[in-house]
C-alpha cells in the first residue's frame, strides 16, 4: 500500500475517532445543557414579552441567539470532522486509481488531511473567539480541501488506458 493511501486511511481513522470522541464528550457534557438553554431562553423571551417586560425579553432572546450561534458551530464541527474522515478513508481505498505520480499523490493526501483537520477546527474556535483568526483558519482549511478535491477529480478523470498499476498484498 502506498504512503498516500496509508496516510489517508490512518488519518481518516484517527479523525473519525477524534470526531466521535468530541461528539461523545459534547453529548454528555454540553449538548443537553445547550438545548435546555435554547428552549428556556426562547420561551422566556416570549413569556417576558407577554408580561410586558420588554428589556427582559430582549435579553432572553439575545441569549437564545448566542446559544444558537455556539450550538450550530459545535454540531457543524462534529459533523464535518466525521464526514471528512469518511471521505479520507474512502479516498484511501481508491487513491491508487488517481493517475498522478506518487509525489503528487502524497502532496494531495497531505492537503486533504490538513484541510479535514483545520477547517472544522476553525469553525469550532469561532465559539471561543468571534474575531477573524478562527474564520481565516476555516477559510484556509476549506480552500486547501477544495483545491485537493479538484486535483483528485482530475486524477480520476485522466485514466491511463491500461489502468494504473495494481497494488497487491501488504507492504
Amino acid at each position: 500500500m502506498s504512503g498516500a493511501r496509508k496516510l489517508l486511511i490512518a488519518s481518516g481513522l484517527a479523525l473519525a475517532l477524534g470526531g466521535m470522541g468530541y461528539g461523545l464528550y459534547y453529548a454528555v457534557f454540553i449538548e443537553h445543557q445547550t438545548l435546555d438553554r435554547l428552549g428556556s431562553s426562547l420561551g422566556s423571551g416570549f413569556a417576558l414579552a407577554g408580561g410586558r417586560d420588554l428589556p427582559g425579553a430582549r435579553a432572553a432572546l439575545a441569549d437564545f441567539a448566542a446559544a444558537s450561534y455556539v450550538y450550530v458551530r459545535q454540531v457543524d464541527a462534529h459533523g464535518h470532522w466525521i464526514g471528512l474522515s469518511m471521505l479520507l478513508i474512502l479516498f484511501g481505498a481508491v487513491f491508487h486509481l488517481v493517475s498522478f505520480s506518487d509525489g503528487v499523490k502524497i502532496r494531495l493526501s497531505v492537503g486533504l488531511v490538513l484541510g479535514a483537520i483545520v477547517f472544522p477546527l476553525g469553525v469550532l474556535l469561532e465559539t471561543a473567539n468571534r474575531g477573524w483568526g478562527p474564520k481565516l483558519l476555516a477559510i484556509l482549511g476549506s480552500a486547501i480541501l477544495t483545491l485537493a478535491l479538484l486535483c483528485v477529480a482530475v486524477g480520476f478523470a485522466i485514466a491511463r488506458p491500461e489502468g494504473p498499476p495494481v497494488e497487491r498484498g501488504r507492504s
Binding site: 416570549f46 425579553a57 478535491l149 498484498g169
Partner: protein, 374 residues
C-alpha cells in the same frame, strides 16, 4: 438488459466466486447496504412530499399562536404554543434521523464489504457480524421513526419510550458488529504477510466505474464550493436576521403592532426555508458524491451489459445533480422545483435499484456456475 453475457465485464473466475460466496459476509453487506440506502432514499422522498412542508407550516402556525398569546398576555397560551412546536420539531427530527441513519448505515455496510478480505476471521463469524450489523442498522432507524408515535406508552422510564430503548439497542448492536470487524482487521494487520492477497474489486476502474469516481468527486467538490459560498456570504447575515426577526415578533406583539408581527413571521418563515434548502442542498450533493464513489467500487459485481452499466451510472449522477440544484431553486420556483428535486431523488433510487439488480444477477450466475462445477 439482454445479451449481458456477450458484453459484460464483471469479475470472472473462481477467485471471485470465493470472494463473493453465497450468503457470504461480503455478499450480505453489499446487498444489505444497497437495500438500506434504497430504503432510506425512498423514505426521504416520501417524507419530503408528504411531511416536510406540512410540518413547517404547522410550526409557523404555532409561532403565530405564540405571538397572539403574547399580545393577549396569555402566559399559558405561550407555553402551549411552544410545547406544540416541540412536538412538531420531534416529528420532523425523528424522520430526518431515520432517513439519515438508514443511508449512513448503508454506506458503512458497503465500506465493510470492501474491507472483508482484510478481516481475518472465520467466514462463519464474518457472516454473523454482517447479519448483526444489518439487523442493528434496520432496527435503529425503524425505531427512531416510531419514537414520535409510540411516545412514552407503557414505558417504565419518565422521559424515554420503548421506541427509544430499541433504537439504542440497534445502535449498540451496530457498535458490537463494528468492534468485531475492527478486531478482525487488527488480526489481519498483526498477522503474517500475505503477498498477492490483494482484492481485485479495488484493482482497477474503467468505463462507468471511473465516471462514477470522477463524477462523485466533482459532486463533493460542488458541495464544498456551495458550503463555502453559503458560509462566506449568507451564514452570518442569516443568523443576525434570525435574531432580529424573533425579537421583532415578540416586541411588536407586546406593543400591539400586529402588522409588524405578521411581517416578521412571514420573513422568519422565508428565512427558515432559505436556511433549510441551503443545508439540504449542501448535505445531499456531498452524500450523493460519496454514494457515487462507493458504488463505483462495486461495478465489477454488476452483471449487466456495458451499455446498461453506463446508463445507470449516468442516471445516478444526473439525479445526484438534479436533486440538490432544484432543492436550491425551491425558493424561487416554489413547488415545481420541489417536484423536480423529488424526481432527481427518484432517479438516484432507480439507478441504485438497477445496479442492485445487476449484483443480484451476478450472485445468481456465480452460484449457478458453482453448482454446475460441483
Amino acid at each position: 438488459m439482454s445479451s449481458a453475457s456477450q458484453t459484460i465485464r464483471p469479475m470472472e473466475g473462481e477467485s471471485q466466486a470465493a470472494s463473493f460466496p453465497p450468503l457470504g459476509a461480503r455478499r450480505m453487506l453489499v446487498i444489505g447496504g444497497m437495500a438500506l440506502i434504497l430504503a432510506g432514499m425512498l423514505f426521504g422522498d416520501i417524507f419530503a412530499v408528504f411531511v416536510l412542508h406540512q410540518n413547517a407550516a404547522q410550526i409557523n402556525a404555532r409561532l403565530l399562536a405564540a405571538t397572539q398569546a403574547v399580545a393577549a398576555r396569555d402566559a399559558a397560551g405561550i407555553a402551549a404554543a411552544f410545547q406544540d412546536t416541540g412536538g412538531f420539531l420531534e416529528n420532523r427530527g425523528t424522520k430526518v434521523d431515520a432517513h439519515a441513519h438508514m443511508i449512513a448505515f448503508g454506506y458503512i455496510a458497503l465500506l465493510l464489504a470492501l474491507l472483508q478480505p482484510r478481516v481475518a476471521l472465520a467466514e462463519e463469524t464474518k457472516k454473523r457480524l454482517a447479519a448483526l450489523f444489518l439487523f442493528g442498522s434496520t432496527l435503529l432507524p425503524v425505531c427512531v421513526f416510531l419514537i414520535h408515535y409510540v411516545g412514552l406508552a407503557g414505558s417504565p422510564f419518565s422521559a424515554i419510550g420503548w421506541a427509544s430503548v430499541f433504537a439504542d439497542l440497534g445502535g449498540f448492536l451496530v457498535m458490537v458488529a463494528a468492534a468485531g470487524e475492527l478486531a478482525g482487521l487488527w488480526r489481519y494487520w498483526r498477522g503474517p504477510k500475505k503477498n498477492g492477497a490483494g482484492d481485485d474489486l479495488l484493482a482497477h476502474a474503467a468505463g462507468p466505474a471511473r465516471a462514477l469516481l470522477c463524477g462523485g468527486t466533482l459532486l463533493i467538490l460542488a458541495g464544498f464550493l456551495h458550503g463555502a459560498y453559503y458560509a462566506g456570504f449568507h451564514l452570518y447575515a442569516n443568523e443576525a436576521m434570525d435574531q432580529s426577526l424573533i425579537t421583532t415578533m415578540a416586541m411588536s406583539a407586546a406593543s400591539g403592532q400586529p402588522a409588524d408581527t405578521a411581517q416578521a413571521l412571514g420573513d422568519y418563515a422565508q428565512l427558515q426555508g432559505a436556511k433549510a434548502v441551503n443545508i439540504a442542498a449542501h448535505a445531499h450533493i456531498i452524500e450523493f458524491g460519496i454514494l457515487a464513489i462507493l458504488v463505483a467500487l462495486f461495478q465489477p459485481y454488476v452483471f449487466l451489459s456495458e451499455r446498461w452499466r453506463k446508463t445507470w451510472a449516468a442516471v445516478l449522477l444526473l439525479g445526484s445533480l438534479i436533486l440538490p440544484v432544484f432543492v436550491l431553486l425551491e425558493l424561487r420556483l416554489g413547488i415545481v422545483a420541489g417536484g423536480i428535486a423529488d424526481v432527481g431523488g427518484l432517479l438516484v433510487v432507480i439507478a441504485l435499484a438497477g445496479m442492485l439488480t445487476g449484483i443480484v444477477r451476478y450472485t445468481g450466475r456465480l452460484d449457478a456456475a458453482q453448482e454446475v462445477a460441483s
